[in-house]
Amino acid sequence: MTPAADPLLDVEGLCTRFFTKAGVVKAVQDVSFSVRRGEVLGLVGESGSGKSMTGYSIMGLIDPPGRVVAGRILFDGRELSSLSPEAMRRLRGNRIAMIFQDPMMTLNPVLRIDAQMVETIRAHGRVSHSAALERSREALVKVGIPSPDERLKGYPHQFSGGMRQRVAIAIALLNEPALIIADEPTTALDVTIQGQILFEMQKLSRETGAALIWITHDLSVIAGLADRICVMYAGRIVEEGTTADVLTAPRHPYTRGLLDSVPANTPPRERLRQIPGMTPSLLEIGPGCAFRSRCSRAQDDCEHDPEMRPYGAVGQAIRCFHPLEAP
């Protein structure tokens, strides 16, 4: 469990924009972070914060009218944006895998599970059909699917939501990726099933030593799972640090507001300390701190763009001119 010093993934200054008829949507703006081998990074934000688009940008899955307009994505020492589409295709589903919120985005409804799994293995290496089938079976066992031989011959519609997500995870794990990007994989599931999936993911990331980027809006999921957290707001990372620091001693007013909004943090029947207003439209975002209209600490200088400023221990940073005091 001692991660190597050099990061597996190093993202710097990533900007992704969508050039729509209504205007330019700045979905991801100047996002920088890194993930080490064996590390679990939580990417937290509300809808429209750009957390999923950050994941899609790393995977090279941004379709027109969207485009990655700036930034550097170093994966295992290689610059991803300089790769040809063919080289990128060889990487995807092999060294980097993604798990989506809706498993039906991964699964083909008209193909049997075994066909889809064997295809994933053989697309990335010269493996005999029977060996690939055996590896598929093992992957299903690994994610806790009972009677895998029978289930391999099934179609996706014969699986429950939780089982489908397990199959999607098994497919992501088939080629032993070094990096897994999980985009809200438990959001659509019931609590008891969510617990099962989190249990499997935690076990797998320990066993395989793969780095994991867990994208979610649910702070309670990330609290028990992640080593480090990046909080995103309106396309930017506003706070970064260890899970303990971000959740117990947040410095950015937005992170504080987000934590106060969780009912469990306030005594029952008491009013929650809500954040006023709503998330700004990414179309209308001008210069300056995007949170300033909802922020109680905002002052005149917030009309300028705050930079990500490191503080305290290594790896902690906030994007705010008037941060909360350290406790």
């Binding site: 509300e46 809808s47 429950s160 939780g162 089982m163 019931d190 609590v191 008891t192 099933i193 969510q194 617990g195 099962q196 989190l198 249990f199 935690q202 809006h217 649910d218 702070l219 309670s220 999921v221 609290a223 028990g224 799972l225 260890t242 899970t243 303990a244 971000v246 959740l247 117990t248 507001g257 987000l258 934590l259 106060d260 909004s261 969780v262 009912p263 469990a264 943090n265 306030t266 029952p268 029947r269 009013r271 929650l272 300390r273 809500q274 954040i275 006023p276 709503m278 998330t279």
Partner: protein, 351 residues
């Protein structure tokens, strides 16, 4: 209240003793039957032996809700919590059982009286995107029902809707807009304003904050709490989110596959869950504590409501299941004042 015999009061096991509940469901069930089509009936003539498919979405549930009480109804998908909410508000007909309002059965009301009665119970739906007619302006969405039911005249509509929108924290100048011009949180507020426009006393909130972001969810939860104290409302708050239910409810009812497995005052139930299913459910409750936690899942899946397990529906997943759990469903017994649980383990503990 003197005309109500004392037995009738003790017959509503899920309500605190002593007072007459505002809304009461007695032994209600809802069955959804998929009838045989003609080809299946013909196949049966040749001995195919096809049967009607029956889902017992709600199976003999008793529930009493007192005035100004917030009851949280919790369960996973397919447990019948939404169906029970729709039964309570009268959107679905009962397959069995009885609905009462302040002790009077609702089934026997004359049509005109039933129509008036219905106004006192309203529902707020889960999806603020689907629950609003996209081709109606907010002024009509909120103002139509009060006009139809004669609470206000058409001329008063604009002023009345303005008041309603103000109350839920929306700018009345936006009332000429269409639903698509609002954000998710604003749409949730429109849905709430529409329900409150007919001056209900009892509201069923079916996953009303589930589709919202955390910061917006906090705003809407605050609105629910403010409105409850301002208007003396009674809520049946349906949710799968235990954190939300723990925060807003006075009493919690836990459902599993169509049956109530446990109920009790919120603080007591969360402090010491009795039923193994409740215990498992509460173990999964999201805590924002930065502790590397070991996720210990309950085994197995939620069974299909088409073919629920025999006896106690939870027995295939229960770590403490005994032989008799497979045969006969345990009754919902009072294990402490106001605390009810359906589990044989309590009998064992007593012996």
């Amino acid at each position: 209240m003197s005309h109500i015999p004392s037995e009738a009061l003790s017959e509503s096991p899920l309500a605190p003793a002593g007072a007459l509940p505002l809304v009461e469901l007695r032994g209600v069930s809802k069955r959804f039957v998929k009838a045989l089509d003609s080809s299946m009936r013909i196949a049966n003539l040749f001995g195919a032996g096809m049967r009607e498919e029956i889902v017992r979405a709600v199976d003999h549930v008793d529930l009493g809700i007192h005035a100004r009480e917030v009851v949280g109804l919790v369960g996973e998908s397919g447990c019948g919590k939404s169906t029970l909410g729709r039964l309570a508000v009268g959107l679905l007909s009962l397959s069995a059982g009885e609905r009462l309002w302040q002790g009077k059965p609702l089934g026997s009301l004359a049509p005109a009286a039933a129509r008036e009665q219905q106004l006192k119970m309203q529902m707020i739906f889960q999806d603020p995107y689907a629950a609003l007619n996209p081709r109606m302006r907010v002024v009509d969405i909120v103002g139509e029902a009060p006009v139809v039911h004669g609470l206000i005249t058409t001329r008063q509509q604009v002023e009345y809707v303005g008041l309603q929108l103000n109350r839920v924290g929306l700018d009345p100048t936006l009332m000429r807009r269409f639903p698509h011009q609002f954000s998710g949180g604003q749409r949730a507020r429109i849905g709430i304003a529409r329900s409150l426009a007919v001056k209900p006393e009892f509201l069923v909130c079916d996953e009303s904050v589930a589709a919202l972001d955390v910061s917006i969810q906090a705003q809407v939860l605050n609105l629910f709490m403010d409105l409850q104290s301002a208007l003396s409302l009674t809520y049946l708050f349906i949710s799968h989110d235990l954190g939300v239910v723990q925060h807003i409810s006075d009493r919690v009812v836990i459902m599993y596959l169509g049956r109530v497995v446990e109920s009790g005052p919120t603080a007591e139930l969360f402090a010491a869950p009795n039923h193994p299913y409740t215990q498992a459910l509460l173990a999964e409750i999201g805590r924002v504590e930065p502790r590397k936690r070991v996720f210990v899942p309950i085994k197995g899946e939620i069974p299909s409501p088409l073919a629920p397990p025999s006896g106690c529906h939870f027995h295939p997943r229960c770590p403490y299941a005994m032989a008799k759990c497979k045969d006969v469903a345990p009754p919902l017994d009072e294990i402490a004042p106001g605390r009810w649980s359906a589990c044989y383990l309590n009998d064992v503990a007593l012996q």
